[in-house]
C-alpha cells in the first residue's frame, strides 16, 4: 500500500514531465527534442505571464491596504479581473512614437527587455526534473542573460530622445551595474559550497534532510547573510522600491520608458516583473532549496507547488518592502552599493571559506556569526559617523 502511495505521489509530482513525454513520443524522432523544448517554452511563457497578472493585482491591492485604501475593487470579484481590463486597455491604446526618436531602436528595446527576461527562465528548475536546459554553467548563463536587460534599458532611454528618458536610463545603468557586483558575489558562496554552476545540482544538494530539517544553504551563517545581500541586490537589480530611482515618478516621471505608450509600456512592465521573478527564483534556487520541501514530512506535496509557494512568498515580501520604504537618493544608493554591499559580500566569501574548513559544531556557528555581525555593525556605524549634516552648496545654482 505504501509503495503504491509513493508511486501515486511521484506520479503527481512528475505529471507535467510525463505528459510532455507522452505528447512528443508520437512524433518522429528528429522532431522530439525540439517539440518538447517548444512545449516547455510555451508553458514557461504562459505560467509566468499569468503570475505577472496575478502579481500586479496583488501588489495594487496590498499596497492599497497598507495605505488604508481599497485598491482595485471594481472589475470582477474583489477586483481580481483588473489585469484583464488593464490588458485590454493597453492593447487598445494608441502607440505613440516621438518623431525624433530612433524608430528601430525604440521599437526593439521593449522586445529585447522581455526576451532577455524570459531567457533567464531557461535554467531555473521550477520542479523536480522540470528545467528547460540543465546547463553546467547555469548560474553564469543566468547572470549573463540578466545583463542584457541593461542594454535594453539603455536602448529605450537613448532612442527616445527625451532628457527624462536619458536620465532614467543613466540612473538605471549606474544602479544595475553597481548592484550586479554584489549580486554575483553573494551567489558565489553557494557555488563554492555546491562546487557546481549547474542550477539543477545546486538544488539537488539542498533537497536532502537531517531528521526533518532540510539542507538549505540559507540555514548557515554565510547562507543567511548571502541570501539577505542577494535579495537587497535583487531589489536594486529589478528597479524596485526603495531602489526605484530609474523610474522615480516624482522626479523623472517614468524614467526610461516615459516615451512609451500602449502595449510597449505594458511590455516594459512585464519585463520588469519577469526580471523580479527570475531573480527571486534564482534566490530560491541558490538559498531556499529550489523546489525542495521545507520539512522532510512535507515532501508529498508536489515540488512545483513548493517552488511557486516560495516564489509567491518572496513576491509578497517585495510588495511589503515597497509599501514601507521611501526611495533612496542617488548618492545613498551608490555609497550603499560600494561601501556596504561590496565589503559585506567579500567578507561573506571569506566566512564561507572559514565555515568550510572548520570542524562542524557549535563553535563554527559562533565564529561565523561573529565574523559577519560584528563587521556589519561596525561598518554601518562608521558609515553613519562619516555623514555630516550641513547646508548643501551647488556650484551652478548660485
Amino acid at each position: 500500500m505504501t509503495l503504491s502511495m509513493f508511486q501515486a505521489i511521484d506520479q503527481i509530482d512528475q505529471i507535467f514531465v510525463t505528459s510532455q513525454h507522452r505528447l512528443v513520443s508520437d512524433l518522429p524522432a528528429e522532431f522530439q527534442s525540439i517539440s518538447s523544448a517548444i512545449l516547455s517554452v510555451i508553458a514557461i511563457v504562459l505560467v509566468f505571464a499569468l503570475l505577472f497578472a496575478i502579481t500586479t493585482v496583488l501588489e495594487r491591492k496590498g499596497l492599497g491596504r497598507m495605505q488604508n485604501r481599497y485598491g482595485p475593487n471594481r472589475v470582477g470579484p474583489c477586483g481580481f479581473f483588473q489585469p484583464l481590463a488593464d490588458g485590454v486597455k493597453s492593447l487598445t491604446k494608441e502607440d505613440l512614437v516621438p518623431r525624433t526618436a530612433d524608430q528601430l531602436v525604440h521599437f526593439l528595446a521593449p522586445v529585447l527587455l522581455v526576451m532577455a527576461a524570459f531567457l533567464a527562465y531557461a535554467v531555473l528548475p521550477v520542479g523536480r526534473n522540470m528545467v528547460l536546459v540543465n546547463l553546467n554553467a547555469g548560474v553564469l548563463y543566468f547572470f549573463a542573460v540578466g545583463s542584457l536587460v541593461e542594454l535594453a534599458v539603455f536602448m529605450a532611454g537613448w532612442s527616445s530622445r527625451n532628457k527624462y528618458s536619458l536620465l532614467g536610463a543613466m540612473r538605471a545603468i549606474a544602479q544595475m551595474i553597481s548592484y550586479e557586483v554584489p549580486l554575483v558575489l553573494a551567489s558565489i558562496v553557494v557555488i563554492m559550497a555546491a562546487g557546481s554552476l549547474s542550477t539543477v545540482s545546486i538544488v539537488d544538494m539542498q533537497a536532502s534532510y537531517t531528521g526533518i530539517w532540510p539542507h538549505w544553504f540559507v540555514f548557515t551563517p554565510w547562507g543567511f547573510a548571502g541570501f539577505a545581500l542577494f535579495m537587497i541586490a535583487a531589489t536594486a537589480e529589478s528597479n524596485r522600491s526603495p531602489f526605484d530611482l530609474p523610474e522615480g515618478e516624482s522626479e523623472i516621471i517614468a524614467g526610461y520608458y516615459i516615451e512609451y505608450s500602449g502595449f510597449k509600456f505594458a511590455l516594459f512592465f512585464l519585463g520588469e516583473y519577469l526580471g523580479m521573478f527570475a531573480t527571486s527564483a534564482m534566490a530560491i534556487t541558490l538559498f531556499l532549496g529550489g523546489w525542495a520541501a521545507p520539512f522532510s514530512f512535507l515532501t508529498w506535496i508536489p515540488s512545483y507547488l513548493w517552488f511557486f509557494a516560495k516564489l509567491v512568498l518572496l513576491i509578497l515580501i517585495f510588495i511589503w518592502i515597497r509599501g514601507t520604504l521611501p526611495r533612496l537618493r542617488m548618492d545613498q544608493l551608490m555609497s550603499f552599493a560600494w561601501q556596504f554591499m561590496l565589503p559585506m559580500t567579500l567578507l561573506n566569501l571569506f566566512v564561507a571559506g572559514v565555515w568550510h574548513f572548520m570542524p562542524a559544531g557549535i563553535v563554527r556557528w559562533l565564529v561565523c556569526i561573529a565574523l559577519l555581525v560584528a563587521p556589519a555593525i561596525l561598518l554601518s556605524r562608521s558609515l553613519k559617523q562619516g555623514k555630516k549634516f550641513a547646508v548643501r552648496h551647488y556650484r551652478f545654482a548660485e
Partner: protein, 205 residues
Amino acid sequence: MFGEGILKGLAETARNFFGSYVSKDRLTTVQFPEQRLPQIEAARNFPFLVYDGEDWQQGMRCVSCFICEKECPPKCIFIEKSTDKKPDAVGKPQFYPKVFNIDVSVCMSCQICVEVCPFDAIKMDVAFEHSTNNRFAGLLWDKKELAKPNEYYRQIHPIEAAAVDAALAEERAKVAAKAKAAADAKAAAIAAAAASTSVEVATEK
C-alpha cells in the same frame, strides 16, 4: 540599533494591512458613484442663469447688459440682445438675452461673471457630471441648458441665495413703492386737474 527603523516601518505597514480588513474606519475612501458626500456651500464649477417663477423665459433675470461677456477672461460667453422688452426680476421693463451661450470647454470656473453681474442673474453651479460624447456641440451650452430656477439656487447655495433673495425683495418693494407713489401722484394730479376745472366752471358761472 542596526535596521531598527526598517523593522518599525514594516510593522507599521503590516498593522495597516491587517487593520484595514478588521476596522472599517481605517478605510476613508468614499466609493464614489454609489456613495456621495454632501456638497459644501462654497463648491462651484460652471455658471448658470437664474430665473424666478415657473416660466424660464419670462422669469430670466438676465437683462443682457453684456458686462459678464466683457469681463469673462477666456471670453467664453456669447450674448445677443433682444429687440423687445420684458419685465425683469424687480418688475422694470428691460431687454433680455435672445441668445446666451457659454462654452464650458473654455470656461475656467473663475466666477468673475458672477461677481460682476449687477442683476444677480448668473450664479455658479455645483453639478459636475457633464461628460458628453460630442466635444464641440455637447460643451456649448445655450440659454435653455443654462437656465435653472431660483429654488435650485437656494438648494445648492442656501446662505448666498437668502442674501440675494432679501436684496431682491427690498429692491422689488422699492420699485413697488415708487410705482405706487407715481400712481398716487398721477391720481392726485388728475384729481387736482379735475378740481381746478370744476373751479373754473364754477367761476364762469
